[in-house]
């Protein structure tokens, strides 16, 4: 057997398996070099073990404990209040500024539709079925318009806004166009009527029967169609107040050009909740979904 100095080290440390240990042991009988190595390493271990250990200064322990506590307190003292202030500002801004709310709704729309459309939670063209599905989820909304400006209801999803409020988001679809409706809690500070344009989208915020309704569309005409439909809707104007002050309503309507139809097609494949009471989309919608946008 040849010399295996590394294995001899392992042998000294008792780190070898039984077979290797037996082989090294047998080898040591015949090899004085390796016996010397064993002897040296054993005495070295003894020497190293006997070295005195440098003591840390007395207050190092206290310093370490103090620093750990300080680090922790610093997080509690600053991080949490900072986060709280940020959230408070977000809520105040979102609830008191129509411009911010409009911007947020447009942003949410963009987020929901592009570049990868989010899934619809409910799919159907019957306004009452869609409204009752939302009510079951805790978003009490009146029956939305079945259609406006040539756009038809196709379904909806629940979206979370910046202030962590979950709102109902209704979608409409037309000839190469698409629309959605968001339902928000009551926003007292929003003016009775508000109109703006952000990017390529027209936004309308309207109070309907004590609720705030936001409309976002690709053209002012489409936005107006939905605003009118909501204002004139009997369901939206006759709903009892107390019910809605708890969970009031705002609607955002979007209209997008042809690309949106293709995107909705992708959504249909991704549906993960369709209640039995809600009919699948109208034939017209279905045709639109399969048609390649022009």
């Amino acid at each position: 057997l040849n010399c295996h100095p590394e294995l001899v080290t392992g042998y000294v440390d008792g780190a070898l398996d039984d077979l290797s240990a037996a082989q090294i042991k047998a080898h040591l009988e015949d090899c004085s070099d390796c016996r010397d190595q064993v002897e040296f390493e054993q005495s070295l271990r003894k020497g190293l073990r006997g070295l005195s250990v440098l003591e840390p200064r007395g207050d190092l322990r206290q310093e370490i404990l103090k620093r750990s506590r300080r680090r922790r307190r610093r997080v509690l003292r600053w991080a949490l209040p900072t986060a709280a202030v940020f959230v408070a500002i977000s809520i105040l801004t979102a609830r008191t500024s129509a411009g911010f709310l409009a911007w947020e709704l447009v942003k949410d729309h963009t987020h929901c539709f592009a570049p990868q459309p989010l899934e619809l939670h409910v799919f159907g063209s019957n306004p009452e079925s869609v409204a009752s599905w939302f009510s079951e989820q805790g978003n009490h909304i009146p029956s939305p318009p079945a259609a406006a400006g040539g756009l038809e209801l196709v379904g909806g999803r629940r979206c979370m806004l910046l202030d962590f409020v979950i709102v109902a988001h209704l979608l409409y679809e037309g000839e190469h166009r698409q629309a959605s409706v968001f339902v928000l809690p009551n926003s007292r500070a929003i003016p009775d009527a508000y109109a703006t344009e952000i990017g390529a989208r027209a936004v309308r915020l309207v109070r309907v029967g004590g609720h705030t309704v936001g409309v976002v569309a690709e053209t002012p005409e489409d936005a107006e169609s939905f605003r009118r439909a909501l204002v004139q809707s009997r369901a939206w104007n006759t709903l009892p107040g107390p019910f809605l002050t708890v969970n009031a309503l705002a609607a955002t309507i979007f209209v997008r050009p042809s690309g949106a139809v293709a995107q909705l097609g992708a959504r249909v494949n991704g549906i993960h909740e369709v209640t039995g009471s809600i009919p699948v989309s109208s034939t017209k919608s279905r045709q639109q979904l399969t048609r390649s946008p022009g």
């Binding site: 070295l44 190293l48 070295l51 440098l54 620093r67 680090r71």
Partner: protein, 163 residues
């Protein structure tokens, strides 16, 4: 018992042993203090991930070694490439705070850190090969090889025959 109390009771008692090793690694009291402080801070932050009842000593040494490796990497070095400069150890002979066994201390300080750490973990701290493999995050064969080379270099430095 809250987290702080548990940490104080389970981790902090290893301070003395960690500091001794940190001093042997860095060869400087100041660097050893920094190293140990950072080690305990990281340990405290990660204490929730430590499973009670398992090997806290090996866990602490794993952090110590990682902190040391990070510091060396930031300085553009790694334990594997740290060689002794011609100036010798940071602590001059005779000034070593340990005193006694001066030849052995000098020889140990003169080892490249990668071997010195392996030898210290085995021969001073009495960790098993498995524990050292965990601490250094290398295979057991590498542990054996590093300990062997460290001891062989010490043997040469101390004037023994070449192994």
């Amino acid at each position: 018992v809250n987290r702080e109390e548990r940490f104080e009771a389970e981790a902090v008692p290893h301070l003395r042993s960690l500091f001794g090793t940190a001093y042997r690694m860095t060869r400087s009291v100041h660097d050893a203090e920094d190293l140990v402080q950072e080690t305990f801070l990281r340990a405290f932050r990660g204490f929730d991930r430590f499973t009670p009842g398992t090997n806290i000593r090996a866990w602490l040494y794993t952090i110590l070694y990682r902190v040391r490796t990070d510091a060396l990497r930031r300085a553009g070095r790694s334990p594997a490439t740290v060689e002794l400069t011609n100036d010798g150890p940071a602590v001059a002979p005779g000034q070593d705070a340990l005193g006694g066994s001066e030849d052995l201390v000098r020889a140990l300080d003169a080892l490249p850190e990668v071997f010195r750490v392996a030898v210290i973990l085995r021969d001073v701290q009495e960790f098993t090969y498995e524990e050292i493999a965990q601490i250094l995050e290398v295979p057991i064969g590498t542990v054996m090889s590093r300990i062997h080379r460290g001891r062989a270099l010490l043997r040469i430095t101390l004037g023994g025959p070449k192994s």
